[in-house]
Amino acid sequence: MRSERPPVLFVVLAAVGVAFFVLPLIGLLSRAPWETALGDLFSPEALTALRLSFVVSIAATALAVLLGIPLAWVYARVPFRGRDVVRALTTLPMILPPVVGGVALLFAFGRRGLFGQALDAIGIHLPFTTAGAVLAATFVAMPFFVLTVEAGLRSMDRRYEDAARTLGAGRWLVFRRVTLPLIGPSIFAGAVLCWARALGEFGATITFAGNLPGTTQTLPLAVYIALETRPEVAIMLSLVLLAVSLVILIAMRDRYLRAF
């Protein structure tokens, strides 16, 4: 295959684009206090925040998958009046500033919230709890999952489902053994996107769930607090987040592109 030389203008602009992302990372790496790094990294606070981040982000992703697959299916396959409006509403968290999302959650599920009072009555308290942090993370991250899976459902060849039915498979069996495997790549890609977003969630978490080490202080919150007095620790924690996210993104680079 003959390789064409790309247009110079494109290369220059692309290089600027790359610099845009890479320079802040280089800045972070250059200020990292490598001598005290290990100590900072394995301090109890850092490990707690790291563990909590994983628990919250994975729980949020699991919740998003459980609710998101049926939701994506309804959006892709079930025409009903107002579907476009409903879909727009459920993707709002993607463009809403996270803090606004947190405030909305507060007014809905907070102690004095619309539904919070009912939940309180049956003993379910969400603000200031890990469950609340999971809810906040799910709220902002789930739309990424739903959109990806919906796109996968729309682009799959539905005739495979027809074929399965003529072979004797009922609708549930068709969904389990034909539809789900065929949209597997989009489910995977959507889940990773969702997980990455949940991992980095800050604004909604701190507004709705609060900030308490061990309970709601996820890694981004720990970085923010640490920045105030111990920037070296903040940098190390940021690098951990960065490294984990980078590993995941690199590991699924091809899969993501194949999802569509």
Partner: protein, 252 residues
């Protein structure tokens, strides 16, 4: 031909916009960047208006936040003209970084109070009550002046409290209480006063009190040092001090 004309015109406009107007023209407005502790939000907004009345050339740009965050920003090169901190530790950071123009002056002090829902439905009477398990307590994070002061006060009173959250600054604590999400929070008396109607305050006895000292300094390298010093002087003037007292601050 057309394209070239357009480019030249755009460049000319750009240069004109960036250029400093000459002194012989109308007196231009100078921006003063003030980085101040969030507990000074109402105080400085009013002080800024007061100062601008006698000095038309000034426009204030306020950056309110936790003193620790502000100190970090300034020591990393943020373009502040004035820094007003809620404690001396954070001001010391800027002094150590050789970024303080002269010696910082303490222009006000503040005391702590317990913020509760209007009418105090949970009947909180003292710091000791904050240890009650039926109460949802929030404090500012220990890395923030108000958070440290709160822990000092609690230890003075011999109380072990378990906050449900450590907020990023004292205003966030106040908000949680006024929204009804928390039953109590330790804030400054000035915060309780500013949120009158939305929260009620419970006094903390003098033996458990912590005095918060607010130092202020002009940041070295300020482009409007003269005006900045003028504002600092204004804050120490009787007019400003009276305004501060009305808001609940105590004398420096």
């Amino acid at each position: 031909m057309r394209a070239r004309l357009a480019i030249v015109t755009a460049a000319a406009l750009l240069i004109a916009a960036c250029a400093e107007p000459n002194a012989s023209g109308t007196p231009q407005i100078k921006d003063i960047n003030v980085f101040a502790a969030s507990s000074l939000t109402d105080a400085f907004t009013q002080a800024g208006d007061g100062f601008a009345k006698t000095n038309f050339r000034v426009r204030f740009v306020f950056n309110f936040g936790s003193s620790s965050t502000l100190a970090t920003q300034i020591t990393n090169g943020a373009p502040a003209d004035i820094f007003a901190s809620a404690d001396e530790t954070n001001m010391q950071k800027t002094v150590d970084a050789k970024l303080a123009d002269g010696t910082p002056t303490v222009f006000a002090t503040n005391r702590l109070a317990i913020a509760v829902a209007p009418g105090n439905p949970k009947k909180i009477r003292s710091l000791a009550d904050l240890a009650r398990t039926d109460l949802l307590l929030v404090l500012a994070a220990p890395t923030v002046p108000a958070g440290r002061y709160a822990l000092d006060a609690l230890s003075k009173a011999g109380v072990t409290a378990r906050p449900a959250s450590q907020e990023v600054d004292v205003r966030a604590v106040l908000n949680k209480v006024s929204l009804g999400e928390a039953d109590a929070g330790i804030v400054y008396v000035t915060d309780v006063k500013s949120a009158a109607g939305r929260v009620s305050g419970v006094d903390i006895p003098e033996e458990h009190q912590v005095l918060a000292r607010y130092p202020i300094a002009v940041v070295k390298g300020s482009k409007n040092a003269q005006l900045a010093h003028g504002f600092v002087d204004y804050l120490l003037s009787p007019a400003a001090q009276g305004m501060l007292a009305e808001l609940g601050f105590s004398k420096p």
